[in-house]
């Protein structure tokens, strides 16, 4: 990892999130064009985020949803009654 790689390494996520100014983005893109390691690093990070988003989802089961609502109703009703 060269000094130039190190400089860009810490800003890869901001680059992927579109949070950098255009001049810095161009600088990173120029560096990637010359550095396969950094290009691979950016690509692998992009894949990691996309994969987690795609595979990391969860679904509340119907019985869990029922329990949450029943307990909620029960608590709020009790509190309302108690004033």
């Amino acid at each position: 990892m060269t000094d130039n790689c190190m400089k860009h390494f810490e800003r890869i996520s901001e680059y992927l999130d579109g949070e950098l100014d255009p001049a810095t983005c161009i600088e990173i893109e120029r560096h990637m064009a010359e550095c396969p390691q950094c290009e691979n690093c950016v690509e692998s990070l992009k894949r990691t985020v996309a994969l987690c988003r795609k595979m990391g989802g969860e679904k509340l089961a119907p019985d869990e949803a029922t329990r949450i609502r029943e307990k909620l109703r029960e608590c709020l009703f009790r509190e309302h009654k108690a004033g």
Binding site: M1, G56, R67, E79
Partner: protein, 208 residues
């Protein structure tokens, strides 16, 4: 860039606004509809943070209960969704403290950097080609879930808010009550950490 905690202005969701007004006027149906709108996301967040479905259920209950108790004081300056996640984030923190487990720790950038010096030998499956086979999909999901779960809590929370729930950097900062720069730092380290974890899981005999 920005050291201060974000100050955000949002358009308030008109459906939420209407439901909140109905709830304040005594409609139990409005309460049900508000829960229905956000229960899956709050539950998912709780599950991603705590790793157990029962804990996630408790967090969802605690979040909605607290929200309905204080809804009359909610000034609608931030979206309801963000306010609910702020309550849920606190509930996750309390749950972890109560269980007296899993101490928080820092992830050093050095520990993540050396991997990049070896030629970038990562194995991250292409998200567009995830396995069609149910068993393989389940294995892949387990790898992803375990990897996220292995993040230290404060990094896991930033990752879940930003990358799983889709909040902006500014919104995540506001929900967690930390600076924008800290969100960026933690998110970057969390992503690098996950990349290395997923790669390691594959090397150790995960999916091919």
């Amino acid at each position: 860039m920005h050291q201060e905690t974000a100050v955000l202005r949002h358009e308030f969701d008109p459906i939420d606004r209407e439901l909140i007004e109905s709830f304040k006027a005594g409609s139990s149906e409005a309460m049900e509809r508000l829960v229905e709108r956000y229960e899956n996301r709050i539950f998912t967040f709780g599950l991603k943070m705590c790793g157990h479905r029962q804990d996630a259920e408790d967090i969802a209950q605690e979040t909605f209960l607290s929200a309905f108790r204080h809804l009359d004081r909610f000034r609608q300056e931030t979206p309801l969704k963000n306010w609910l996640f702020k309550i849920a984030a606190r509930a996750c923190f309390r749950k972890r403290r109560k269980k007296k487990g899993e101490p928080d720790r820092e992830i050093s950038i050095e520990s993540l950097r050396h991997e990049d010096g070896n030629g970038g030998d990562y194995f991250i499956p292409d998200p567009d080609e995830s396995p069609h086979d149910a068993v393989l999909r389940l294995e892949l999901k387990t790898i992803i879930d375990n990897s996220i779960r292995s993040l230290p809590p404060k990094y896991r929370m930033v990752f879940n808010l930003r990358d799983m729930e889709g909040f902006s950097t500014e919104e995540a900062a506001q929900i967690m009550g930390i600076s924008i720069q800290l969100v960026k730092t933690r998110l970057h380290r969390a992503r690098l950490f996950l990349r290395d974890k997923i790669t390691a899981a594959y090397r150790e005999g995960g999916l091919q």
